[in-house]
């Protein structure tokens, strides 16, 4: 009898079916409500920066991996996610090469220079965004208005994103912005940073699927809320209410999509909480006293740098070790 050829391998012999590509394609699925919300309020123009950012991210990844002789990993979807997220952070009215350049830098510098997917110490999206934002400040300071059908008119109280209004016009003016508009996304801004509900839907999906840990978004939003609550209670004439801050700008996108980028977050529960807390507090610090409109991108980038340090907090393993003779 011919002996059958049997596969030998150590246990476990089964797998859950998770894969890197599934992880990123499901993240892409979670971004769908954000993109759709953007299209709803700002028209199909929001797709333009997304398309160029995806082209830049995917192109840079393919060219780089071919050039240095690595196997091309573009099908895992991580570059596409970087591209889509970056596209959501850029106004449709900027020139096409801005998202393209941001995506190329975002994919190459923090990710591929350090070894590829998951090896990025800093968020690919935010590095790409920060480079173009700092380099082309005038071009980037440009935000679309929601479609006129939603009742916004040029010259009204919100010609600028709510946080910009807060920065220049003070706390009194933003009181006029209805919370409903903030939740739905009926305010000026880039597609990813306006609609709280769309981002929350996507983030909830990621949470329920277990793709992102609950600690980071909860600590992020909670930390920012509590920090701002203290200052708002002390001086409501100077500081905006925590509710306004939570529902405005990059906050939700940062908590659910940017701060949780694989490779940049700590792995253990307590460090993740501290990381989220740090992100939230730094965001509020920059918003309250910084020169930038929104604190999220730089807060997350700063905490990215701290993440490996936080991860050194030891998780106490269960069980004791005997002294080995």
């Amino acid at each position: 009898m011919k002996k059958p050829s049997l596969v030998i391998s150590p246990s476990p012999h089964v797998h859950s079916g998770w894969s890197v590509s599934r992880l990123y394609y499901e993240t892409l699925l979670a971004l769908l409500p954000v993109v759709l919300g953007g299209i709803y309020f700002f028209g199909f123009g929001v797709l333009k920066p997304i398309v160029f950012a995806v082209i830049g991210a995917v192109g840079a990844e393919v060219v780089w991996e071919k050039a240095i002789g690595r196997s091309v990993t573009v099908y895992d979807g991580s570059a596409v996610v970087t591209g889509v997220l970056l596209g959501l952070l850029v106004s449709p009215s900027v020139p096409w090469w801005i998202p393209l350049l941001g995506a190329v830098i975002g994919v190459l510098v923090p990710k591929h220079f350090f070894g590829g997917v998951g090896q990025n110490a800093f968020s690919t999206v935010l590095v790409g965004w920060a480079v173009v934002f700092v380099s082309y400040k005038a071009i980037m300071a440009n935000y679309p208005m929601p479609h006129p059908a939603f009742g916004m008119v040029a010259g009204g109280y919100v010609e600028y994103p709510p946080l910009e209004v807060l920065k220049w016009d003070g706390v009194d003016v933003i009181k006029d912005i209805p919370i409903k508009d903030l939740l739905l996304g009926n305010v000026p801004g880039t597609a990813g940073t306006t609609s709280v509900i769309a981002v929350f839907l996507g983030g909830l999906y990621l949470l329920l699927r277990g793709i992102i840990p609950w600690q980071v978004p909860v600590a992020y939003l909670g930390g920012a809320f509590l920090f701002q609550l203290v200052f708002w209670l002390i001086n409501p004439a100077r500081y905006a209410s925590p509710v306004f801050h939570i529902f405005t700008g990059w906050m939700f996108l940062g908590a659910f999509f940017l701060a949780t980028e694989k490779g940049t977050t700590p792995l253990k529960p307590l460090p993740m909480l501290l990381y989220g807390l740090g992100c939230g507090i730094l965001t509020m610090v920059i918003r309250n006293w910084g020169i930038y409109m929104d604190g999220v991108p730089f807060a997350v980038l700063l905490m990215n740098a701290l993440a490996p340090l936080l991860d050194r907090i030891k998780l106490e393993p269960r069980g004791r070790v005997e002294s080995l003779a």
Binding site: P4, H13, L267
Partner: protein
């Protein structure tokens, strides 16, 4: 009723199929490996010898390796090379059935009112092999220190008794006896089946062990779908035992997790000797074997094994004598052995893949998984630091870091990160999106550390 709470771990949907137990046609040829997880056994028979059912065919000079008995009468056909269940190269005794040999039971049969030392001796002679990765075999794990002491006094001086004295934590009293009726891993229902169908034997077995251990507290761990069953009520009333219900998380059934969840005591690693914390865990499969061998003098040594045709989601519960080769079961199920791609003894999460179909079902095997489809392969892709493994590790480790240390031969660093506390449940590898062989690397690291310790 208590609930067994497992921090982390992973819930698997319990969709238990209705399984009827069938008897495998009696095999003519039985194979007995001369080694188990506790060590090696030396054959006491030669080729051509006639052996009777119940005869000891291999034994050890060490007290912590249970002996081996044949389940059928026949002749020793040959002694072949065969790996043990744990895939260590060893020998196996092949016995061919013959009608003209009468059975010679060498078991010590005892009554229900036997003294603890008699129970101790009877269990030792019964040669019970167990599924779980216990540090000590049943009699040494459960016996009260006075019982072992009495046995040592009775037996006089010998090498055997000398090594019995050296059993670690021999002087610790057993306070809690845990009866484990939780299925060992997902897609396995042998233990819950035995618990539901054979509660009389379980009650009798636990009574014996209660006497042997002198334990004040007995806890019976049952899966949630059996929480209100007849057998749970019966066991609860008969034993005055506490019942703890599992919430269906894997790996609630593994010894360190079970002890932690039920008593709050942490085990010592790497020896995993439950005597140290005064707890003894015994699973219902071992109890059934024990009662059959010790109280009923039943030498058929029949075990229940679940056969999973994993590619097709087909499950069978079979009864067969210890020593039935896997090939016999494959023939019984009318499968073509040439079409199989993988044969795993011991379950999808904790089992061993075997290449030789002569490997038998023993007391160490609860599940036999057969694949005839494509096999999943782990690969060395880089870690993407998603943290999935940290979220499921029941021992609170960071498997990603430990496995990376092992991958780059930094074993001492892995010790600092808790490599010894890994119970090898396999969940980290199971959930890893990069398909990294994490628990496999950790196992490799433990072996290398063990080797380094032996050399030094």
């Amino acid at each position: 009723m208590k609930t067994i709470k497992v921090a982390k771990g992973l819930s698997f949907p319990v969709r238990q199929p209705a399984l009827a137990v069938r008897k495998v046609s009696p095999p003519r040829r039985l194979v007995y490996p001369t080694g188990n997880r506790w060590g090696w056994l030396y054959p006491e028979v030669k080729e051509g010898d006639a052996v009777g059912a119940g005869q000891v065919i291999a034994s050890s000079s060490l007290p912590y390796v249970p002996s081996l008995k044949t389940a059928i009468s026949g002749t020793v056909r040959e002694i072949i090379k065969l790996p043990t269940l744990q895939l260590r190269e060893g020998q196996a005794i092949v016995i061919e059935a013959a009608e003209d040999v009468s059975s010679v039971s060498q078991s010590v049969s005892i009554g229900e009112d036997a003294s603890p030392v008699e129970v101790f001796k009877a269990i030792m002679d019964a040669g019970i092999w167990e599924v779980d990765d216990y540090a000590l075999p049943l009699h040494l794990r459960v016996a009260a220190p006075e019982v072992i002491e009495e046995y040592i006094k009775e037996s006089g001086e010998s090498e055997f008794v000398e090594s019995l004295r050296n059993i670690p934590y021999r002087d610790r009293a057993i306070e809690t006896l845990i009866v484990n009726a939780l299925d060992r891993q997902p897609q396995s229902w042998v233990r819950s089946h035995i618990f539901a169908s054979d509660s009389d034997r379980i009650v009798a077995g636990v009574r014996l062990l209660q006497r042997l251990s002198g334990a004040k507290q007995t806890i019976v761990a049952v899966p949630s779908h059996l929480a209100d069953s007849e057998s749970t009520k019966k066991v609860m009333d008969a034993l005055k035992a506490e019942v703890a219900v599992s919430n269906g998380k894997y790996p609630a059934s593994l010894e360190p997790i079970l002890i932690l969840a039920l008593t709050g005591k942490e085990m010592v690693f790497p020896s995993k000797n439950s005597r140290e914390c005064g707890v003894a865990v015994v699973d219902v499969m071992a109890l059934e074997q024990l009662v059959k061998a010790v109280l009923e003098s039943n030498e058929d040594r029949e075990v229940t094994v679940q056969v999973n045709l994993s590619g097709r989601r087909e499950y069978h519960l079979l009864k067969c004598p210890v020593g039935t080769p896997v090939l016999h079961i494959i023939d019984h199920l009318a499968l073509n052995p040439d079409s199989l791609t993988k044969v795993v003894l011991g379950g999808d999460f904790l089992g061993y893949a075997h290449y030789d179909l002569d490997v038998p079902i023993t007391g160490e095997v609860d599940v036999l998984s057969l694949w005839d489809t494509e096999i999943f392969h782990y690969k060395h892709d880089p870690c993407i630091r998603c943290g999935f493994c940290v979220r499921v590790c029941p021992m609170n480790l960071v498997p990603a870091e430990i496995s990376m240390c092992c991958e780059y031969n930094r074993f001492e660093e892995a010790v600092g990160k808790g490599i010894y506390q890994c119970i090898e449940c396999g969940l980290c590898s199971y959930v890893c999106p990069s398909h990294r062989p994490m628990v496999q690397l950790i196992r490799h690291g433990k072996q290398e550390l063990e080797r380094a310790r032996e050399v030094s």
